[in-house]
């Protein structure tokens, strides 16, 4: 029913956007099925590890540079060209630092907590479609998977705050727990909006459902609903990421650092790494759901469209992702922090009703077949 609205049939889509990557095909051709399965999974794991680490290093540098621009400073500019190696030096310093644990802290939980957020970021990376054939897994329920594992990150914060045996940490953890549980509702309602529009919960199918010109991206479709959904998505994902203006979990001026106050060395860097990995994941999700993911932007003008199509999909994906990353940084360095009560009333009294109403209107529009702007 919904699939007929898109210009290409399933067979044409499969021919145009093959799901398998040449490297994976080569491995499958040269090894037995079980061996190929293992080798491909190991390649994917190694690539993800390298990619996540490099991305986090780059994003920390980018955050400092963008922040410096907003505050009329220069930012890091001594280590390496444009200060690019500054985060590497900082990371090395964190690596060599002694890891302190408060005497009365709970040993097991204290050491478990920093591993949970980074694990959930890695799990979520598996379903991001970097290109039509660069995606580790494409489960049918991709967005349910995303919602499930994004929600797991809050465990790390709650447990870290408690295990530190520090009242500031515990306060930060409780605040952030309440915040993440609240904003997750609007977040998931945005995912639901896209599932409704695309008729699929697989991230790859969602991107392929946005075929056509730029106006076919879900951001512009479903007159008004797509754009409103995008705004709600940006607000609620900023809250899920604990970034300013929603950083009450850390709130340097009130809680000295919140849940990670008592962490040093590698424990702290794990939290830091997952924070920036999650920033990339949120932007990647925004690009996939609302901005056509790996599809090249098309403007309905022949020669220009064909020229844009020559650029590989993963380049478009990264460009869209970094556009959104810049948007998150822009928000962070522009708005002052909200109070706890303001934060809660924003979600429960404003965002949630608006997201629910948006979903209801979108459902009517989809039922009537009015997808176009």
């Amino acid at each position: 029913m919904i699939a007929s609205l898109h210009s290409l049939t399933a067979a044409e889509l499969a021919a145009r956007y093959p799901a398998t990557h040449p490297v994976g095909d080569w491995v499958r051709a040269h090894l037995a099925p079980a061996g190929a399965f293992t080798v491909n999974a190991l390649i994917a794991l190694a690539l993800t590890t390298v990619f996540v680490s490099l991305t986090a290093l780059f994003l920390v540098w980018m955050e400092r540079k963008v922040c410096a621009r907003f505050q009329l400073r220069l930012g890091p500019n001594r280590v390496g060209p444009f200060g690019l190696l500054q985060t590497l030096a900082d990371g090395l310093k964190l690596f060599l630092k002694e890891s302190f644990m408060p005497r009365e802290a709970d040993f097991f939980v204290y050491h478990l907590a920093p591993l949970i957020p980074i694990t959930s970021s890695f799990m979520v990376f598996c379903v991001l479609p970097f290109d039509h054939n660069i995606q580790i897994a494409d489960p049918q329920g991709g967005l349910v998977y995303l919602a499930a594992f994004l929600g797991m990150g809050v465990f790390g914060v709650l447990l870290a705050g408690w295990a530190s045996n520090n009242k500031y940490s515990l306060l930060g953890a409780l605040r952030s727990g309440a915040q993440m549980i609240a904003y997750e509702i609007s977040y998931v309602l945005c995912l639901l909006l896209i599932v409704l529009a695309s008729g699929s919960a697989s991230t790859r199918d969602i991107v392929l459902a946005q075929q056509g010109t730029v106006l076919d991206w879900w951001l512009f479709k479903l007159p008004g609903c797509g754009a409103l959904g995008f705004i709600i998505f940006i607000i609620s994902s900023t809250a899920e990421l604990h970034r300013a203006p929603f950083d009450i979990a850390e709130a340097e001026s009130e809680l000295t650092g919140g849940f990670h106050t008592e962490y040093s060395g590698m424990g702290f860097s794990m939290f830091f790494l997952s924070e920036y990995a999650n920033l990339f994941v949120a932007s990647g999700l925004g690009a996939t759901l609302f901005l056509g993911g790996f599809l090249a932007p098309q403007f309905g003008f022949g020669p220009l469209d064909r020229a844009l199509e020559l650029v590989p999909g993963c380049v478009w994906f990264m460009l869209k992702v970094y556009g959104l990353v810049y948007l998150y940084m822009w928000l962070r360095w522009t708005f002052p922090r909200l109070r706890v009560d303001q934060l809660m009333s924003l979600e429960w009294k404003f965002l949630l009703p608006v997201a629910l109403g948006n979903l209801a209107v979108a459902a009517v529009l989809v039922a009537l077949g009015w997808l176009l702007p």
Binding site: A34, D106, F108, V109, L112, P139, Q140, G141, V144, Y145, A147, A148, F149, G151, M152, V154, F155, L158, L159, G161, W162, L170, A173, L174, G177, A178, I181, E184, S200, A201
Partner: protein, 183 residues
């Protein structure tokens, strides 16, 4: 013994081990973590049965919802650092009797159904995966056909609405009570 069997036994051992820890650990938060592990490995069991949607919902609802609320509530209690006192021997005996009765009933049901003699269970894997995926479940859940679950689904959502209204009416301040905080 193929790879599925190995995975099943590893997962079952994990579930049983963490379930035993969840009821035997003396520290409340550690017990909650063991419960989380047990629920998480149950999702693995669903995956082995090709019930992708059930596995995802298991993680989403039990880990992301139930256990988070349990941990959150534990963090709000004042007696967090203390260990739970050992329960009365009579209670332990009662629990043991209950567990034995459950095992007996389970064996009886399994024996009556001969559950281990499922012929060629893996022949229909693809069809199972289709039926257990998001699309298959979603279609049946909202279908008015005889095999659909539209009416139970709507009744359950009504129940959920009633629970929400109840929660709000309990949480709201009585009329005329200015409550605490700045006025």
């Amino acid at each position: 013994m193929n790879i599925t069997d190995v995975l099943f036994y590893a997962d079952a051992a994990l579930i049983l081990g963490s379930a035993v820890l969840a009821v035997s650990l003396r520290h409340v938060l550690h017990a909650a973590l063991a419960l989380m592990m047990a629920l998480f490995s149950t999702a693995g069991l669903f995956l082995l049965l090709h019930a992708e949607f059930a596995a995802l919902v298991q993680v989403l609802v039990y880990i992301g919802g139930v256990v988070i609320f349990i941990v959150y509530t534990i963090l709000l209690t004042a007696h967090l650092g203390e260990e739970v006192p050992r329960s009365h021997p009579a209670k332990q005996l009662g629990a043991l009797a209950g567990a034995l009765l459950f095992c007996a009933l389970l064996l009886a049901v399994l024996w009556a159904g001969r559950a281990w003699e499922v012929p060629a269970a893996h022949a229909a894997d693809a069809a199972l995966a289709q039926a257990g995926g998001v699309k298959g479940i979603g279609r049946r859940l909202l279908s008015a056909a005889p095999d659909g679950f539209l009416v139970p689904f709507e009744i359950v959502s009504l129940l959920l609405l009633a629970a929400l209204v109840g929660a709000i009416s309990i949480a709201r301040k009585p009329a005329g009570d200015p409550g605490e905080g700045p006025k």
